[in-house]
Symmetry: C2
Subunit: 212 residues, 2 copies
DNA sequence: GCTACTTTCTATACGTGTATAAAAACTCAT
DNA sequence: ATGAGTTTTTATACACGTATAGAAAGTAGC
């Protein structure tokens, strides 16, 4: 029958994931360590590794849970606008989970709970007249841009919190105006210029540049 | 006078950086640890921290060195093509240093040795008729896309080397064709579809979408 | 009941980045 | 010369992710 053999498990994947979400909510992503998580579920660190391949997979599962729970926005009918809206919703969703930054290396798309976004983007691209292969390209390009933008923003925020002179600030301070005429004119305003949110602008550019 | 006070240094920043480059070249980026690097320069791990803020800054210095040494390609005159060519050169340069992946979180641009690329892109954008602010936006959007693309590619390669079923493969294997009609039609071809290099396509799209 | 087998859990250990404290080696004022 | 001040180096320690080995706790066949 379905009676499983072997020592019966004390903890489960679900238990681990929910405990991880609780830890993050209470004490932030920095507090989510394997040992802390083990303590939280009343077990040892290494026991977790029988339910999760490694910490990265755990974070992926968290993103999965999180993304699946987010309400999906109504998207416009017009393909171009639909792609932009889906991309921005995806951006918001991933931005909303701080631990996502550590997973953004993931090559293409994300977990099953988040597949809705690529599906919408690919579908809209096909409706816009692209082949399915081209549509996948569009999605991947948008995803790479999204991942880079979120990663960059997270890094910028982290630097700001830490305080102290950034490497860039030191570089910009002694910038050679002859070698870098353009950059030196904006060097002092760089902080303000790069604080603005240009994600929407970028997505619109990609969509417009990719659809004829 | 210029006689400095305090205990005279045994090691220098330059020495550290060149030793780090040597280690990477000989044994790969995985071998570059602070302890190994210390052994290489005949010192202790913690002594390095008086010349380098942390490992991330060290990697930034490596990128700096590396980028500064790369020959700069001749760029076309026409602004659009110049932006694309500069972006692709930047992409090649960063792709060429494996350790760059760990720094790609860096918010905007890179080290002083690599400033040539943003300078060219911003300059070309201004020549194309954009304001300096818009030109900076263009550069940042291109950079975010570039960082995301390289990060994604590196992750994909890493997964491939490790072998074993990817998380995505497991997800795609049991994909609901009704909920995800588009994705399920390409699920089996996904590996091949995403293996293609679409960076140039993406940059062209961004440039065309951003210049009127 | 006993032995094999399987799965899960525990204990221990390694190498990592780096915080902290103190020692060491120099210059300068006295 | 001596003591104060400054900079660099060393020693020690911590928490992290996780590899490895083996113990524990169950089922199945005899």
């Amino acid at each position: 029958m379905s009676t499983r053999t072997g020592r019966p498990p004390k903890i489960s994947r679900r238990e681990i994931v929910t405990a991880a979400l609780r830890v993050i909510e209470e004490d932030g992503t920095g507090a989510l360590t394997m040992r802390r998580l083990a303590r939280e579920v009343g077990s040892t660190a290494m026991a977790l590794y029988h339910h999760v391949r490694d910490k990265e997979e755990l974070l992926l599962l968290l993103l999965d849970d999180y993304a699946a729970a987010i309400p999906r926005p109504a998207l416009p009918d017009e393909p171009r606008e639909r792609m932009v809206a889906a991309a921005m919703a995806m951006h918001d969703a991933v931005s909303g989970c701080p631990w996502a930054v550590d997973i953004l290396k993931a090559d293409d798309l994300m977990s099953v709970g988040a597949l809705w976004y690529p599906e919408q983007i690919v579908d809209a691209a096909v409706h816009a007249g692209l082949t399915i292969e081209e549509a996948v390209d569009v999605y991947r390009i948008i995803w790479h841009y999204t991942a880079g933008e979120i990663g960059g923003r997270a890094a910028a925020r982290r630097r700001r919190e830490e305080g102290g002179p950034t490497y860039r600030e030191r570089v910009f301070a002694e910038l050679d105006a002859e070698e870098f005429p353009r950059l030196s004119t904006v060097a002092r305003r760089w902080e303000d210029l790069t604080a603005r949110d240009t994600y929407a602008k970028g997505v619109r550019a990609i969509v417009n540049g990719l659809l004829p």
